[in-house]
């Protein structure tokens, strides 16, 4: 089952996406952010909060006299001068002690002092990756589409109950939706949490609690159940670092989502997404991109080319950060108005188009949300056609649609019904896609070609203007975001010539290996 589409246009779109990302990569190379520095501190072993609940990573980075040199330099110098551990130094800073001036310590001494902690951090990431691979080999997953459901009670212990029940009902991936305000917090909350709005806070302890529960149920079921969270918002790199240590398997991580849909500063996002993705690449975490958001906020038929264009841009950014195709879960969603005649054909066209253009990417397919109503019966039916589209076009990560999507965060029973729907449809139509062919020049093929051409035109316009300028004049999702506006801009800074980030240096080796 192959669509005949213009391969020349695909190659040209890919070239344009790289050309769009190149100038941004130059900007990224010369800048850092507070969140990147806090991620470095966390990877050196700094954890915990002060008496007011402020994370020690924040206290340390906020205390830097010269942030443009990076936290690693200051930390290395303090280690060399005091003989303490990074955690002890962060605790001392939180208690009001000043950091020593790094200029007083010889370069070689401060680097040598930090080196064991950098090695330990990298070793933990690598060990976690190895452990995941071993568990996956021992507890193989059922074939894709991998059934993905969310839990979002606000209380990590309730989430744990829901997650285990969902795994028993057939879920292969559990995502813990974050509390709605978390993307705009400039720190990562601490400890186990039992209160949240529309979701549960992403904290290292919450990650741990869920990982333990899913490991238990994985053993019981004989198949590995994956855990997902969100490396988005103002703390992208820190979440990526924490997820790498606590063996999350996937992270939502988009190169532009925060800019467009959460009004986070574009420079902040570009720098943060790069370091996050470098970490994800090393830790073996599959990223999920957020193209579904273009479809939920505007007309899905009209926005289809923007989805494809964004997939190309996300791919180019991901390759830049060293992510292999197998870790790039590009997004799409089933959001066309159910009243539109032949809407199903358009959905199949779009899903198959992405499958062919990104053959090795674990595509993430999002369910209908925008046109779901209180009519749960119709909703269940729409979800069934979404499930059918996913199995026909061989999507990889399948976010199960809930019949109660428009009503409430899913009940335990809603998840079970959604999983049953998906398992029924995907079982009964498992190899349907292998048995059919698209009519040459037919409606589906013409639609796919139109979307490809539209995406190419959009990429040409963006390449001509430059990505930052294009976002400024509303080329994506009809949203305009100024270059120096939005949240988190004050946390972006140019690196000094003496800037040092040993983790970025260790991860940079992977860049050369990127396709």
């Amino acid at each position: 089952m192959e669509l005949r589409i213009d391969a020349g246009q695909v190659a040209e779109a890919r070239r344009l996406a790289r050309a769009i990302v190149d100038p941004i990569a130059a900007f990224i190379a010369t800048h850092s952010t507070l969140s990147v520095e806090r991620a470095v501190a966390r990877l050196c072993g700094i954890d915990g909060v002060d008496a007011d609940g402020v994370p020690l990573a924040n206290r340390l980075v906020d205390a830097l006299a010269a942030r443009e040199q990076g936290v690693a330099r200051a930390l290395g110098a303090a280690l060399a001068e005091t003989g303490r551990t990074p955690q002890q130094i962060a605790e001392a800073v939180a208690a009001g002690e000043p950091l020593p001036d790094p200029a007083a310590t010889p370069e070689a001494a401060l680097r040598a002092a930090l080196a064991p902690y950098v090695e330990r951090g990298m070793a933990r990431i690598d060990a976690t990756r190895v452990e995941r691979a071993a568990r996956l080999a021992r507890l193989p997953q059922a074939p894709p589409p991998l059934l993905y459901v969310i839990v979002a009670s606000g209380n990590i212990y309730e989430d744990r109950t829901a997650a285990v029940a969902a795994a028993e009902a057939g879920a292969q991936i559990i995502a813990v939706i974050r509390s709605t305000a978390q993307s705009l917090l400039d720190y990562v909350p601490y400890g186990a949490t039992t209160e949240g709005f529309g979701g549960t806070y992403a904290t290292q302890e919450n990650f741990r609690i869920m990982r333990v529960a899913l490991d238990e149920v994985s053993e019981r079921l004989g198949r590995y159940v994956m855990l997902t969270n969100y490396a988005s918002g103002l703390c992208m790199p820190e979440i990526a670092a924490t997820a790498a240590l606590e063996r999350l398997d996937m992270l939502l991580n988009d190169s532009m989502y925060g800019i467009l849909f959460r009004d986070i500063n574009m420079q902040r996002t570009f720098v943060d997404q790069h370091f996050s993705r470098q970490l994800n690449a090393r830790s073996g975490i599959i990223i999920n991109t957020g193209e579904d958001n273009y479809l939920t906020t505007a007309d899905a038929v009209e926005q289809a080319p923007a989805v494809l264009a964004s997939q190309f841009v996300n791919e180019a950014f991901a390759h830049r950060a060293g992510l292999p195709d197998a870790q790039i879960g590009l997004g799409d969603a089933y959001e066309i108005d159910p009243d539109l005649e032949d809407g199903f054909l358009f959905q199949v066209a779009q899903a198959q188009l992405a499958r062919q253009i990104f053959p090795h990417a674990p595509l993430k397919y999002m369910p209908p949300t925008k046109h779901m109503t209180g009519d749960i019966f119709k909703g269940h039916l729409i979800d069934a056609l979404f499930n059918l589209t996913s199995v026909i076009t061989n999507q990889t990560i399948h976010l199960c649609g809930m019949l109660t999507e428009a009503i409430h965060t899913p009940f335990l029973g809603d998840r079970a019904l959604a999983l049953e729907n998906a398992r029924y449809v995907m079982g009964t139509a498992r190899h349907f896609g292998e048995e059919i062919e698209f009519k040459s020049g037919g409606r589906i093929e013409r639609r796919a070609q139109d979307v490809l051409t539209g995406a190419l035109r959009l990429l040409e316009r963006v390449e001509e203007r430059g990505l930052m300028a294009a976002i400024e004049d509303g080329s994506f999702a009809d949203v305009r975001r100024p270059r120096e506006g939005g949240r988190g801009f004050e946390g972006v800074f140019a690196k000094a010539p003496t800037y040092w980030n040993p983790f970025a240096d260790a991860l940079a080796g992977e860049l050369a290996a990127a396709p």
Partner: protein, 244 residues
């Protein structure tokens, strides 16, 4: 016929369908527990037509039953906000003729809610389902403050700009956060002596006009609302207050 019951296939049979989960492992006794539970709710002729395990320690049931109670529909009244919406040019004309100036409208997702889909559909020029948003109207000056706006900031903005209408949106309803935020906004407007000066509107997928009335708002608009319905309501309500 003002006294009515649910209709299955015969008048007054009172037939209803229910489905729910119980936190117990499935067994035949679990089916019986579900049946007795529904009987305790006051239903008769209870039939548990489906009962099964959906996870360890959780069972799901589909139940048909009959209700003995009826409702006198002649006693039920609901205030409707979205009555006979005008077209965009009619709204603009109404504002121009009766008010003679542009109306200032501010919208925001209040509290921690970050879901702007609804407020954007009403305010953004593009609108919703081919119905243009308020930004497109000549009669409105629109300020869309976006997501996660503290009610204090919204009230301060409304006061400084002397707005005519406030649109507060809430999508997330977990643990009653929407009601708490709507209530806080209403109370703060009262405290600032602004409540009588503005048209106060609640919006969101779970909002009804009845809920809005209970909260002391002028109107509430739920799922599927078109921008022109909101525009018509604001224009008429402000026009009513202008001395003829």
């Amino acid at each position: 016929m003002s006294l009515v019951k649910p209709y299955g296939d015969t008048l007054d049979d009172g037939a209803v369908q229910l489905s729910f989960t119980l936190p117990i492992a499935w067994s035949e006794a679990a089916d019986e527990a579900a049946r007795q539970l529904v009987a305790k709710m006051g239903f008769t002729d209870v039939a548990v037509v489906e009962g099964r395990a959906i996870a360890a320690g959780f069972s799901f049931f589909v139940v048909y039953a009959r209700t003995p109670v009826a409702i006198d529909v002649s006693t039920v009244a609901v205030p409707a906000a979205a009555r006979d919406a005008l077209a965009m040019d009619q709204v603009d004309a109404l504002i121009a003729q009766r008010v003679g100036r542009k109306l200032k409208v501010v919208g925001a997702c209040i509290g921690t809610d970050a879901h702007t889909v609804g407020i954007d559909a009403i305010l953004n020029m593009k609108g919703y389902k081919g119905d243009y948003g308020l930004e497109r109207y000549h009669g409105f000056d629109v300020y869309n403050l976006g997501s996660q706006i503290a009610v204090e900031d919204l009230v301060r903005f409304a006061k400084e700009r002397e707005v005519d209408a406030i649109l507060a949106s809430q999508v997330v309803t977990q643990k009653g956060s929407d009601i708490a935020n709507f209530t806080a906004l209403g109370e703060l407007l009262e405290a600032e002596h602004l409540r009588e000066r503005v048209v106060l509107i609640a919006g969101g997928p779970r909002v009804t006009n009845l809920l809005a009335a209970e909260l002391g708002y002028d109107a509430g608009f739920g799922r599927g609302t078109l921008p022109s319905e909101v525009a018509t309501f604001i224009a008429r309500r402000v026009a009513e207050r202008v001395p003829a």
